[in-house]
């Protein structure tokens, strides 16, 4: 069964891009356009990894990260931060990796493979 990745970004172009690329690389994807939506999805659907844009309106990205890392059922899901703001990852603790936009997709895939296979 393919591993499932939740892509969280408020920019539909980015969502389309990442899902197309990850699906081409053999993963299943689900999407959310903000942190609240993403957290709701994770309550009902299991994801093996999350790619997260932190710089979403209303800071929902940062809040999502905090909610996930505090939730005992979700805290072990690896999160990869993809953000246009360098240094932004300092707002959260211990993402698996941090990528600057525009993302180097091969480097991203490498991290994804190393993390969930």
């Amino acid at each position: 069964m393919p591993k499932k990745i939740l892509v969280v970004d408020d920019d539909p172009s980015v969502v389309k891009y990442l899902t197309a690329f990850l699906e081409d690389s053999g993963y299943e994807t689900i999407t959310a356009s903000n942190g609240e939506e993403a957290f709701e999805i994770l309550k009902s659907e299991r994801a093996d990894l999350v790619t997260l844009d932190l710089q979403m309106p209303n800071e929902t990205g940062t809040r999502f990260y905090r909610n996930v890392t505090k939730d005992k059922n979700l805290k072990d899901i690896p999160i990869i931060v993809i953000s246009g703001l360098a240094g932004r990852h300092l707002a959260v603790t211990k993402p698996v990796a941090v990528f600057d936009k525009p993302v180097d997709r091969n480097a991203l895939l490498k991290v994804v493979r190393e993390t969930i296979g």
Partner: protein, 355 residues
Amino acid sequence: MSTLRNEDFKRLLDSIPCYITLQDKDLKILWSNEFHRRDFGEPEGYTCRDFYNIDSSKCEICPVHNTFLDGNIHSKEMTLITKKGKRINVIIYSSPLRDENGIIEGVLETAVNISPVKEIQKQLIMLGQTVAGMAHSIKNIMMGLDGGIYIVNRGLEDKNQKEVREGWEIVLLNFEKISQIVKDILYCSKEREPNFAVVSPNKIVSDIYHLFKDTAARYAIEFKLELDETIESAVLDPDGLTNVLSNLVSNAMDACKMDIMKDKHLIELRTKKGVDGAIVFEVADNGVGIDKELKDQVFEEFFSSKGDKGTGLGLMVVQKIMREHGGRVTFRSRPRQGTTFVATFPKREMPQPAE
């Protein structure tokens, strides 16, 4: 110079355009020059702190105190409040005044008003932040372009027309975003004469409506057009009006996108007749609205509430264009309810061509 009398020295010190005070070890002011007395009052019986309205916590490093300790010149930047309540930024230098035996008997404090320099510094900091913000926006857009290109290529490989078209749309959308940023920068960076012409405002508004219709639909935002059909023509700069409206509409869309409370979003684009032949353009949305604390900053140069997705240039450009037209832009907003921006263009006659 030895012929200068005491009186002359006093006049000399009085006419220096700096705040000069002579202070003792307890920071009591023994003497102050005319310039100082004018802005801070008579010194008798007061300390430096009383004068400058400083609470004791604010002066951890006291240059005067340090000069008493080591006999060297010290300096410090600080904000003072004059007796009229005006805030001024100064740089303070403290220098020792020694008696014939070399003992420091007082310290001369000279404060130079550097408020204008501070203002420029502030502008430069903002400019720096804007450029950084712009770089971030462009990085986001580049990611979108990357994505569009990826989808187009995938579509070409799979011979999937639908996918090619979908990818191409993403490319166009992001290309449009970059164009807008570049246009905004150009509008901000140079003085330009508006190209006044007799135009149909309703036609321009309709064009904007059609330009943004698909994008609005993509974000599931209902987009409505309400034209006052009795408006026939107006004299204004069509490019300017287009820019004002596209900035306001894309802001309205951002406001809707940022709002996660409401299920249905709506943007209305309206034309109306104003007083004295003015023409009013309204862009109303039911998006996030503008928080009370942010209301004052909305038109501030380079201000943005959109993180790396905004440059803070948009409304700056809008205001500039409105000024060029002798018009104005205002807004009313309720947090979490929505915002309406109103741009009013005054009636204008077509300038006679110069012979």
